[in-house]
Symmetry: C2
Subunit: 357 residues, 2 copies
Amino acid sequence: MSERNLPSALVITEGMLHTDDAKTAHGLIRGTERFRIAGMIDSMHAGKDAGEMLDGRNRNMPIYASAEEALQKAGKIDYCIVGVATVGGILPPLFLQIISTCIKNGVSIVNGLHDYLNDKPELVALAKEHGVSLTDIRRPKKREDLHFWTAEIFSVKAPILAVLGTDCSMGKRTTCRMIRQACAKEGIHAEMIYTGQTGWLQGGKYGFVFDSTLNDFISGEIEHAIVSCWKETQAELILLEGQSALRNPSGPCGSEFLVSGNAKLVVLVHAPKRIHFEHLPEWGEIPSVRSEVALIKAYGSEVIALALNTSNCTREEAFAFQRAYEKELGIPVLLPLEEGVEPIIPVLRSHLKTRTV
Amino acid sequence: MSERNLPSALVITEGMLHTDDAKTAHGLIRGTERFRIAGMIDSMHAGKDAGEMLDGRNRNMPIYASAEEALQKAGKIDYCIVGVATVGGILPPLFLQIISTCIKNGVSIVNGLHDYLNDKPELVALAKEHGVSLTDIRRPKKREDLHFWTAEIFSVKAPILAVLGTDCSMGKRTTCRMIRQACAKEGIHAEMIYTGQTGWLQGGKYGFVFDSTLNDFISGEIEHAIVSCWKETQAELILLEGQSALRNPSGPCGSEFLVSGNAKLVVLVHAPKRIHFEHLPEWGEIPSVRSEVALIKAYGSEVIALALNTSNCTREEAFAFQRAYEKELGIPVLLPLEEGVEPIIPVLRSHLKTRTV
């Protein structure tokens, strides 16, 4: 589908576009194959371009001060997407007003918070009145749509690579997308399994929303996504978007990908300037990359590259960290935003080769 | 509450009491402070005593051939409990008939399967007609009753010990209960956090049902259970009932206890004669105890004792495994069923001491 035919969407980040909580919006700015992003609604940053704000690259995504302004200036809009993932998953009150205005103007709403729009009777009534839909991406699937793990994963012949991180909101999904794109350029057919709401918003066909899945079904949903993807696409390489971090105390995650998803290869994302989990000293210090690599090895998987999130680093610091980690770990260290992820291609090729022999 | 005052309950295991799937029933036979178990319904094993079948010890728990027989002979019955945890969590069809008969005789039903009784309109109508309740223990809690992780766990001063295993259905919960009882005898105030339906059925006050909790809330529910327990009871030691195994591919589990539950101490349960995860060769081999101890160490926690599930071992083999693992690992190796768990007490005391200095 060309971008022209995609449904058009506004993204609400009201007052939060500059924060990590707006990572859903950041992902949509970086790229989606499900929507054409027509702009943002965020009065704090109105007048700027969202792409320029994110990484200095103008993407013709204006930031509007209000729903009214956006709906007046952005052309025909099909959807309005809640662009934040707040701690606690609660819909910020200001968002509710914006959502109501959109509904009254015939715009459907897509929401990835745990706070479901379909549980708010006044919104449901308003949506009905105006003939629009309310989609709660994170609403758990019904029992009959969930899968148990069956061991079928061991029939997948393509190598499976998980992009894990040493903390949340570090760029795991973005790194994963970039690796897929780099593979495509090099003629390697890689497919990506999304595991978060943003992955779905970006157009992912195979995957599930990890944190709104009942724990008993996580392993089966991972397996089902990988096996379906591999059977239907015959991809040479399967990429898994990781979630959280193996030792993030607020939600340790990762062993599911390594064990149930049989990901024997790992790209680890790390932010050298981030000291504490989710920036909160009381949550404890993020362990060293070396110890994370050892933990992953204890699970029987191999970290084949480190990718650095160079937030708060000068360009010089970024390259200095790259050299230091390469020396310490003896594996390629990627700087996705500075250099792209292409240096991983030869390593991937060697693993593809090993498998086909 | 004395056992006399507990509500009386029958347990249905129809045709399955001898299988691992009946571990819910096995737990109830071993002991519960929530019900007085009046007998089993299982036509395959009718006439025997459930305790004798489990471990040779008569507990005056007759096995009846049918609901009709049980209701006629077992005296007044308040509850009937579904005593199995089937793969897939589906209610076996034969159970449905037994449940209907119980309801028609004024008996309330307790069910721990994912297949909820309250989703079956005919049962709901029948229960209403006869004025009895249908309790689905595994029905997920509502959003407002769930907790996010907050780091309050780090304020708990008592050591936290997780009982983990190298596979499912190995005796983690039973080992955990035995340690609590051994502590009580020795004057150590230990409390146990349940994490499965059977733990609740056995009368656990603090805990939650792990596998029917949305993944995003697991860490917070663990923390909330531990913090509440510690604040309200001022226990000297908190014991956590583990679930599954760190590397069980059908549902890897354990890091939540170590990381979010801050369990720095671990008792690891292992069955030396079990080769494959859940006895299924296609699921892969259970890794060595040594590698499991190393994996737990990579998470920053310490295995202070191994407990052996001596299923399929002769008595001589059991003691030989004990000597061999003690030599290999240099930690106490418990044989809970042969010798009890008392040998762990001195090790626990040393950790309690360290903490209070």
